[in-house]
């Protein structure tokens, strides 16, 4: 429903996303650089995206010593 509150909110998020793409792509001059644009997450706010998909806890690991224990 294009007149719904939900539609308007998603439309705003989408507009924000388009602005973000411009900034992200401004670093993408080299031929193999990452490209940023419209995908399945483009009508999500950044907060929604984080809350839905970025749910791994940080885990500190010891630095790799490169030394074998044997010998």
């Amino acid at each position: 429903d294009v007149n719904s509150e939900e539609f308007n909110r998603r439309h705003l998020y989408f507009q924000d996303t388009m602005k973000r793409h411009k900034y992200l792509n401004s670093f993408s001059a080299a031929p193999h650089s990452a490209k940023y644009g419209i995908n399945q997450f483009s009508d999500l706010s950044q907060k929604e995206f984080r809350e839905l998909y970025l749910r791994a806890s940080t885990a500190r690991a010891p630095s790799f010593s490169g030394l074998k224990t044997e010998g």
Partner: protein
């Protein structure tokens, strides 16, 4: 080390999955590594149950999130055998843990290592070749908009929030990069994969890396 190495070339990497609206990346990456190492050791490549890890790894929070190292620790301590995906299928929501008898077939974790390879990504390449695909934590905030290519900017180290599976690397071109399987479906990125520049632990790819042993 070979200049290019990709476990997919050896047919030991399962197809890209889609975690859907569930914060289960941590379970997908751990199960992905176990599936691959199981195949590297000579078994048929089979999909193992992500839902089993999601429901049963009690120190984690299912679809509300979790830690790869906690999941690996749980698998190691309990010696739980992961059953086939077809026997305990993915629902994209947390459920009640289903138990299987000890005689039921499955794949158990013997051990795992976890290291920070910051500043030592060559050693990480060695571990990938030696041990199989690696579980890694990354900062994926900018991945919301990623379409393809090699990520070199807009990613922090030390602020991880997402878990992925590193399946290979390529140092033959101008920009060496990691080949990383994500769990957001094949319509995202490079058919479900993301490429990350090697060096400086871009996106924190080398900050917390686990290898599994079966």
């Amino acid at each position: 080390l070979p200049a290019r190495f990709d476990w997919r070339d050896k047919a030991v990497v399962s197809p890209v999955q889609n975690q859907q609206a569930c914060g289960s990346c941590w379970a997908f990456s751990v199960v992905g590594a176990m599936q691959s190492v199981h195949a590297i050791e000579g078994s048929t490549l089979e999909r193992l149950s992500v839902q089993q890890v999601l429901d049963c790894s009690y120190k984690n929070e299912g679809c509300n999130g979790g830690s790869t190292l906690q999941a690996l620790d749980w698998l190691k301590q309990t010696r739980v055998k992961l059953v086939l995906e077809s026997e305990y299928s993915y629902k994209a929501k947390t459920g009640i843990c289903h138990y299987f008898s000890q005689s039921h077939g499955g794949v158990a974790l013997k051990n795992f290592t976890a290291h920070d390879f910051g500043g030592q990504e060559k050693a990480m390449m060695g571990q990938l070749v030696e041990c199989g695909p690696l579980v890694a934590l990354v900062d994926a905030v900018s991945w919301q908009d990623y379409l393809g290519g090699i990520i070199q900017h807009h990613c922090s180290s030390h602020w991880s929030n997402h878990a992925v599976l590193v399946v290979g690397y390529d140092t033959t071109g101008d920009i060496p990069y990691w080949i990383v399987q994500n769990s957001w479906g094949t319509s995202w990125g490079n058919e479900g994969y993301v490429y990350i520049k090697i060096g400086d632990s871009v996106c924190g790819i080398a900050d917390s890396v686990a290898a599994v042993f079966l």
